[in-house]
């Protein structure tokens, strides 16, 4: 990738620095400022004592004079936040693994077993990817209620795969397609079963694809909101996004400090994971669009 970049701007060195500054660095800086400012603002509000937060005359709002952990302490000890965090982790991890398992099997069958009608099934799964949760949540709520799953982690663990499986399957199909057929044929001649081929040849070779799909699926389920809002009613079963919005606002009293602390600490785990796997994340995001 880097070599292609170097070539693509072959005559770049002819440009003087001031010119490039106004053409590239300045607009880029402005856009990045716009993109990052809300995070800065979140962090400032998290560590700012109430006295400074609501007094813009005496204190400059952009800076913290006496940083405090009061809001975070309130969030962790006076609310169900630790439970929300725990639920979010459980739900995201389980639904990601369920989806990965189902998607690996499905993608392998569609792409490599080529059973009768596999192309149509592949297309149908892609269409499933285009069905947005906001038109599914009402009937799903009725189903979840009928199955007795209402207000429990299982309701989310079983429904999140509806948007994860189509995405993961589609992505993995692309990765499996790049593995040469000859490898599988050799293994078949040597007497390997299909399951052995999948476990020992196809999966190891497409590990980057599996990691990409997993990382992306995990962040998608961590961010999910509308199902969690609809299917969960008691505070101790909520996930972070739902808990923050519904439990930290008492009527007209907004606990801005605690809200911001929840927003910040709820984002940090995904951001850390993302920072370790940026390349995988990007390839998942662009791969799903490119196919």
């Amino acid at each position: 990738m880097t070599t292609a970049d170097d070539q693509s701007v072959g005559m770049d060195y002819l440009e003087s620095f001031p010119r490039k500054f106004f053409r590239v660095y300045l607009p880029l800086g402005l856009i990045i400022f716009f993109l990052l400012f809300p995070f800065y603002w979140m962090a400032v509000a998290t560590f700012k004592p109430d006295a400074e937060m609501y007094d813009y005359e005496k204190y400059n709002p952009f800076w913290i004079v006496h940083p405090t952990l009061e809001h975070i302490k309130k969030l962790f000890f006076d609310t169900d936040y630790p439970l929300w965090m725990w639920n979010t982790v459980i739900v995201s991890v389980s639904s990601t693994f369920i989806s990965l398992f189902a998607s690996v099997c499905a993608a392998y069958a569609i792409e490599r077993l080529r059973y009768k009608g596999s192309r149509y099934v592949g297309l149908a799964i892609f269409l499933g990817y285009l069905v947005p949760p906001s038109i599914l949540f009402i009937p799903l709520a009725a189903i979840v209620f009928q199955l007795g799953l209402f207000d429990g982690n299982l309701a989310l663990i079983l429904t999140y795969p509806t948007f994860l499986i189509p995405f993961c399957t589609w992505l993995l199909m692309g990765y499996f397609r790049t593995i040469p057929y000859e490898l599988e044929e050799c293994a078949l001649i040597d007497g390997a079963t299909r399951l052995q081929i999948l476990m020992k040849i196809t999966l190891p070779l497409s590990l980057p694809g599996v990691i990409s799909a997993g990382i992306f699926a995990f962040t998608l389920s961590w961010n999910e909101f509308i199902y969690a809002l609809t299917f969960i009613s008691s505070s101790e079963n909520k996930t972070i996004p739902v808990g923050a919005i519904t439990e930290l606002v008492n009527g007209d009293v907004y606990h801005w400090g605690a809200l911001m602390a929840a927003a910040l600490t709820g984002s940090v785990p995904v951001v850390i994971l993302y920072s370790f796997f940026v390349e995988y994340y990007v390839s998942a995001m662009t791969g799903a669009v490119k196919e």
């Binding site: 590239v24 880029l28 856009i31 993109l35 069958a109 009937p139 299909r194 993302y274 920072s275 490119k290």
Partner: protein
């Protein structure tokens, strides 16, 4: 003895049937598909069909409904709040998508330049897309606060305005505010996916154009845009779909207010179905979104076909 021998024979026969089945692609394929298909049928296809049915009933939460035909749609067509939500959804989608495309393409072109710390810059740019939307929307809620908005404070200090702006109290202010938050969240997705498309364009095309004396604008118009158009079609379809069905930003920042002026069809259906308990009416509102979604998908599908054909690919 004889019985045992018989059962042993039967076992051999059965196992050979098993092994034969496991060599058949169709049988094996079906087995491999079971987990995915089971989940997708139970929690995707079935609810989709159930949604159509619910939209034609007067189901309430906690009670069975009866079939009432198109009555939900008839009453919705006389409901000014519903039509307001349709208007809001279209305005929100068109305004946000247009700006997201413009800024996203510009940002992609900027990121395609030779830059120091390029991969780090790209990782930072994507952050708004990675962070849970609801949590970043909380930050926007605080930025738009009527008393403590930092935007108002800065503008007052700069002497541009004299009173704090009521971002979320006035209908049009609120609409533009949520559009801005949506743009903030969507630009990284558009920019990074278009950047991936830009990186596949062969540099030799630009070199040839340079030798022929093409200007920057000409190179953009006659190389970048045509080469990028297939991926633009897909990215913008996804972006439009996500914007049109958006729920999280509105629910967090305005809950549809003030006086329903930011209600989207998704938030209105949630309000009617879950908060208000009229599952049938809510499902009818969701169903009303489907024609728009199908139109968006078809548009991009045919757009894609055309551009692929233009580049000499198969139809």
């Amino acid at each position: 003895m004889a019985v045992m021998a018989e059962s042993a024979v039967a076992q051999v026969k059965r196992s050979s049937l098993w092994t034969r089945a496991f060599e058949s692609r169709n049988f094996l394929g079906a087995m491999f598909m079971v987990p995915a298909i089971a989940i997708l049928i139970l929690f995707l296809a079935y609810p989709l069909a159930l949604g159509f049915w619910l939209g034609m009933t007067d189901t309430k939460i906690g009670g069975a409904g009866r079939y009432i035909g198109f009555q939900n749609f008839v009453s919705l067509s006389k409901d000014s709040v519903f039509w307001l939500s349709v208007f809001n959804t279209i305005f929100y989608t068109v305004a946000a998508s247009a700006v997201k495309f413009a800024i996203g393409l510009y940002l992609a072109l900027l990121l395609n330049e030779r830059l120091p710390f390029k991969s780090m810059v790209r990782a930072i740019v994507l952050l708004p897309f990675v962070v849970p939307t609801v949590l970043s929307a909380i930050a926007f809620w605080w930025i738009y606060d009527s008393q403590f908005s930092i935007i108002s404070w800065v503008l007052i200090k700069a002497g541009l305005i004299t009173r704090y702006i009521d971002f979320l109290g006035d209908p049009w202010n609120a609409r533009w505010s949520v559009v801005a938050a949506n743009i903030w969240r969507g630009v990284p997705f558009v920019a990074i996916t278009l950047l991936a498309g830009l990186q596949t364009i062969s540099p030799s095309l630009y070199e040839a154009a340079n030798l022929d004396g093409a200007t920057n604008l000409q190179r953009f118009r006659h190389i970048t845009l045509p080469m990028l158009s297939p991926i633009i079609a897909v990215v913008m379809t996804f972006s439009v779909l996500m914007t049109f069905t958006d729920f999280q930003l509105i629910y967090t920042i305005t809950r549809g207010g003030p006086i329903n002026s930011t209600h989207l069809m998704a938030t209105l259906s949630f309000q009617r179905a879950i908060t208000g308990g009229n599952l049938g009416e809510g499902a009818a509102i969701s169903n009303a979104m489907i024609p728009f979604l199908v139109a968006a998908i078809l548009l991009s599908f045919f757009g894609l076909q055309r551009s692929r054909w233009q580049q000499g690919g198969r139809d």
